[in-house]
């Protein structure tokens, strides 16, 4: 019964519980959360792909795609640190849960060999939108989570 | 590598390990590495008052290796592990899991034999 003082103290004090998701704590600034790419800055050098310990990033220089499997990503931040153009970033919040597996596919403008200079203008705007596959699901889920947050 | 390395052979390994035990050494573990095409290097690591001693033995994988689990009971786990990883046999293992300590029958290749390279999965 030597534990009694502690439980009595607990009883008299306010519970320590953080009321997540109703109140969300201010995140720590350098938390390694959701990874995203600023595709405009990407030069498709492939360093992130080579450095990634989980080997979850694929960079296709010819197609100009940067593909990452967020489910295999281990959020170590190596890719971010090694990116020569600093176009990889990590949000300070975690990636939201999903009901389907997704692939992050970002299509950007590969550094052009001089002659195809003007060719890639057209698709650029359309492909800004991330994750063409399963995009709907992914949108739906954070929405419910947001709703819960507001409650 | 820190510590004294003593070379032993299949014939005197048990005796040498016994000697270490009588000397008051604690068996830390074994380490293994590939030695040539079909050889296996085993390092027995011992510790006595933070001083390290190693016994080094090289064997062929197809011949049974004398088990020291009779000397140090603690060796049974690591010997079973080596059995799993290199598909070698130990003579006189006190509790022989017979290649089932870690692996299920689905794993058909011998994991650490390096000519059986594992292909990255897609």
């Amino acid at each position: 019964m030597l534990f009694t003082p502690t439980v009595i103290k607990n009883l008299l004090k306010k519970p320590a519980t953080r009321l997540y998701p109703f109140t969300v704590r201010e995140p720590f600034p350098n938390y390694r959360g959701e990874l995203y790419i600023d595709i405009d800055g990407c030069i498709f050098c492939g360093t992130c792909s080579r450095k990634c310990p989980s080997q979850c990033i694929e960079v296709d220089k010819n197609e100009g795609t940067w593909t990452c499997n967020p489910h295999a990503c281990v959020y170590c931040g190596i890719c971010r640190d090694s990116c020569p153009t600093k176009c990889l970033h990590m949000k300070d919040v975690h990636r939201k849960p999903m009901t389907e597996r997704i692939m992050m596919v970002e299509k950007g403008e590969p550094p052009k060999p001089k002659k195809k200079a003007a060719a890639a203008e057209a698709p650029k705007a359309a492909d800004k939108k991330a994750e063409p596959a399963k995009a709907d699901d992914k949108k739906a889920e954070p929405a419910t989570a947001d709703k819960a947050k507001k409650k | 590598m820190i510590g004294k390395v003593i070379d032993v052979t299949v014939d005197n390994v048990v005796g040498e390990v016994m000697k270490m035990k009588n000397d008051g050494h604690r068996l830390v573990t074994f380490s293994t590495y590939q030695e040539g095409e079909d050889g296996l290097g085993i390092l027995y690591h011992f510790d006595k008052e933070l001083e390290t001693t190693h016994l080094r033995m090289t064997v062929k994988r197809d011949a049974p290796i004398p088990s020291v689990s009779g000397v140090y009971f603690a060796a049974l786990l690591v010997e079973n592990e080596i059995r799993d990883q290199w598909d070698v046999k130990f003579d006189g293992l006190v509790l022989d899991f017979n290649r089932s300590l870690y692996l299920d029958p689905e794993v058909t290749q011998v994991p650490l034999v390096s000519n059986v390279k594992i292909e990255p999965k897609k």
């Binding site: 519970p15 320590a16 519980t17 953080r18 009321l19 997540y20 998701p21 969300v24 310990p53 989980s54 080997q55 499997n69 967020p70 489910h71 295999a72 990503c73 281990v74 959020y75 170590c76 975690h94 990636r95 939201k96 849960p97 999903m98 009901t99 389907e100 597996r101 889920e141 419910t144 989570a145 819960a148 | 870690y102 692996l103 299920d104 689905e106 794993v107 290749q109 994991p111 594992i118 990255p120 999965k121």
Partner: protein
């Protein structure tokens, strides 16, 4: 009336079972941390029952390997319907950093159907709570479909 109360209760009383399916313990301790005072998922009626026969939600952490895939299947089968599966962490999702290792089969969805994927390595307790919330949504949807 009782029927609708049952339906309402489903979302209010998700009993979980946590199976560590070859995880590095990173996600495990975060799952356990969810039960502790700072996160206290019991607010949502979550109880860690530790017995598949009582559980509604299966939280799986870790990679599936050849030995534990049978265990995972067994546990899943022993859970009564309706049930939901939440795969936690990179390993549970895909096998994570280990997915090329020789004894690794891959993510949880190689063996049983997964309802919610919680990414992260390890997933934060907040992420797991989010996952359970999403899972309950999925759960309610499943029940609707079944009726």
């Amino acid at each position: 009336m009782f029927g609708s109360f049952i339906k309402k209760s489903r979302a209010k009383s998700p009993w979980i079972i946590h199976f560590d399916c070859g995880s590095c313990n990173g996600c495990d301790i975060e799952v356990l941390a969810c039960l502790t005072p700072l996160y206290d998922v019991e607010r949502f009626g979550v109880v860690n029952v530790g017995n598949p026969k009582h559980a509604d939600v299966l939280l799986v952490t870790g990679t599936v390997n050849h030995r534990n895939k049978k265990v995972l299947k067994n546990i899943y089968d022993q859970m009564p319907e309706p049930k939901a599966v939440i795969a936690i962490g990179a390993c549970g999702n895909t096998g994570g950093v280990f997915r090329e290792a020789y004894n690794v089969v891959g993510g949880v969805d190689q063996v049983i159907p997964v309802d919610v994927y919680v990414p992260g390595c390890p997933a934060k307790p907040e992420a797991i709570i989010d996952g359970v919330v999403v899972g309950l949504g999925k759960f309610a949807q499943k029940v609707e479909e079944a009726d």
